[in-house]
């Protein structure tokens, strides 16, 4: 029992997603998204907190975070550190082009009721779903059994020199965002277009929320809310320069057995420059 738990926790660590933090807002924010010069460096904050972008709740664990270079290779997170309220790391952008920083996971989650009417869910808080765990822990038949294929993705982008599109190629698994307007070419007052995919197909009717940073310094959320169209597209016109948090949620019932529902969550941060 101990051995399998150990294996499970290693696997969970590898997937690196804390499902306990589901209710809160997660973000990875670079200190700059447009970099010039030879070999620039850029630093990042990663945290889970509801006030955007104030790190006042929990750090975002870095074990599931990868940085993808323009040529598709993974580059090392330099000087990684996880503190009380946030994680930080640096990246050395040796290649010219656009980098994607991503934490993604995909798996089955389940909810059911026991014969006594007690509510159960899997995976337990703080651990990531695994196929073995699912087989073992989730009953094949139960009252109000609901199995969901869940995907969760948190991303941000930075560009050294001239932007390019290599890192936007989707994996075609779960909920993904393929930018139409380059995410490191965003300016106040301009419209930016985005494309959403669910398992490689257009994600229609996905709910999008965009929040500007500096939330502590205003009295309202001032959320921009849009829904993706039948091509999975949506557009945002940035009201002002600053750092923005975007969160997309999607669900449908076109899932593969044993799941009856598909759900996806996509989160990203964007920098919008003044004219």
């Amino acid at each position: 029992m101990k051995k399998s738990l150990y294996k499970l926790s290693i696997f969970a660590l590898a997937l690196g997603v804390s499902f306990a933090a589901e209710a809160h807002r997660a973000w990875i924010v670079p200190a700059a998204t447009v970099l010039s010069g030879d070999d620039p460096w850029v630093t990042f904050d990663a945290a889970v907190s509801n006030t955007i972008f104030h790190a006042d709740h929990a750090p975002f664990r870095l074990n599931g975070v990868t940085a993808v270079a323009p040529d598709g290779s993974e580059i090392e997170l330099q000087n990684p550190h996880t503190g009380k309220y946030r994680s930080t790391f640096d990246l050395n952008l040796k290649q010219e082009g656009t980098y994607k920083i991503v934490s993604a996971s995909n798996g089955l989650t389940a909810r059911w009721e026991t014969e006594d009417g007690e509510r159960r869910f899997w995976p337990p808080r703080g651990s990531a779903p695994t196929p073995e765990g699912f087989e073992k822990e989730v009953p094949k038949k139960a009252k109000n059994l609901k199995v969901t294929q869940s995907s969760r993705r948190i991303e941000t982008f930075v560009t050294a020199g001239e932007p390019d599109n290599q890192v936007f190629k989707p994996a075609n698994v779960g909920l993904e965002m393929v930018p139409v307007t380059h995410p490191n070419d965003l300016f106040s007052g301009e419209e930016a277009e985005f494309n959403l995919l669910i398992d490689g197909k257009p994600a229609v009717g996905a709910k999008v929320i965009v929040l500007a940073g500096g939330m502590r310094y205003r009295n309202q959320q001032d959320a921009i809310e849009v829904v993706s169209d039948k091509k999975g597209k949506f557009a945002i016109t940035w009201p002002a320069a600053g750092m923005y948090w975007m969160s997309v949620s999607y669900s449908d019932d076109k899932a593969k057995k044993p799941a009856t529902q598909r759900s996806g969550s996509y989160t990203a941060s964007f920098e919008v420059l003044p004219e």
Partner: protein
């Protein structure tokens, strides 16, 4: 009579062909601050999204090309052409200039102006100063000029008086 005709013809043939000229006069303002840095300044002309860079002043003497780190602070220049360039660019890159009046002269057909096709252009000058501000000035103009023209713009912070002289 024939001699006079010959004389006239000689004079006509010795007259130099005048090339069209574009001259920019820019004032880098004197700013009274304890920590003053000369601004990074970019000069370019644009037409339908096509950019012709005329001059880019930055800290090009720094070791390991460290001065390139702040080229992106000239936000519009960076976005419209800078990020696609391999700096320094011969004939365009230059060191930052001290406060005062500076003149840049360009000749049609010669680098970096080159041969401009006829049409409506905009001269854009962008300045960004360390621990200071950033300013952009634009002057629209018609090319080629049919007569001598002087067009002006006035900056408020990082740029002073800007004038563009077009000579046919």
């Amino acid at each position: 009579m024939r001699l006079r005709l010959l004389l006239i013809l000689c004079v006509l043939f010795t007259l130099p062909a005048t090339a069209k000229e574009l001259t920019i006069s820019v004032e880098i303002p004197r700013i009274n601050v304890a920590e003053y840095h000369r601004p990074y300044t970019a000069f370019w002309i644009e037409r339908d999204g096509e950019v012709t860079n005329l001059a880019v002043w930055y800290d090009l003497e720094m070791e390991d090309a460290k001065g390139e780190e702040w080229l992106k602070d000239m936000r519009q220049w960076w976005r419209r052409s800078g990020r696609s360039l391999d700096m320094p660019v011969d004939g365009v890159s230059g060191a930052t200039r001290a406060p005062g009046q500076h003149t840049l002269a360009f000749t049609d057909g010669k680098a970096p102006l080159g041969k401009l096709t006829a049409g409506e252009y905009t001269l854009i000058v962008e300045a960004s100063r360390e621990v200071g501000g950033r300013e952009v000035l634009k002057i629209p103009f018609q090319w080629p000029p049919t007569q001598q023209q002087v067009l002006n713009a006035q900056g408020e912070n990082e740029l002073g008086a800007l004038s563009l002289t077009l000579t046919p």
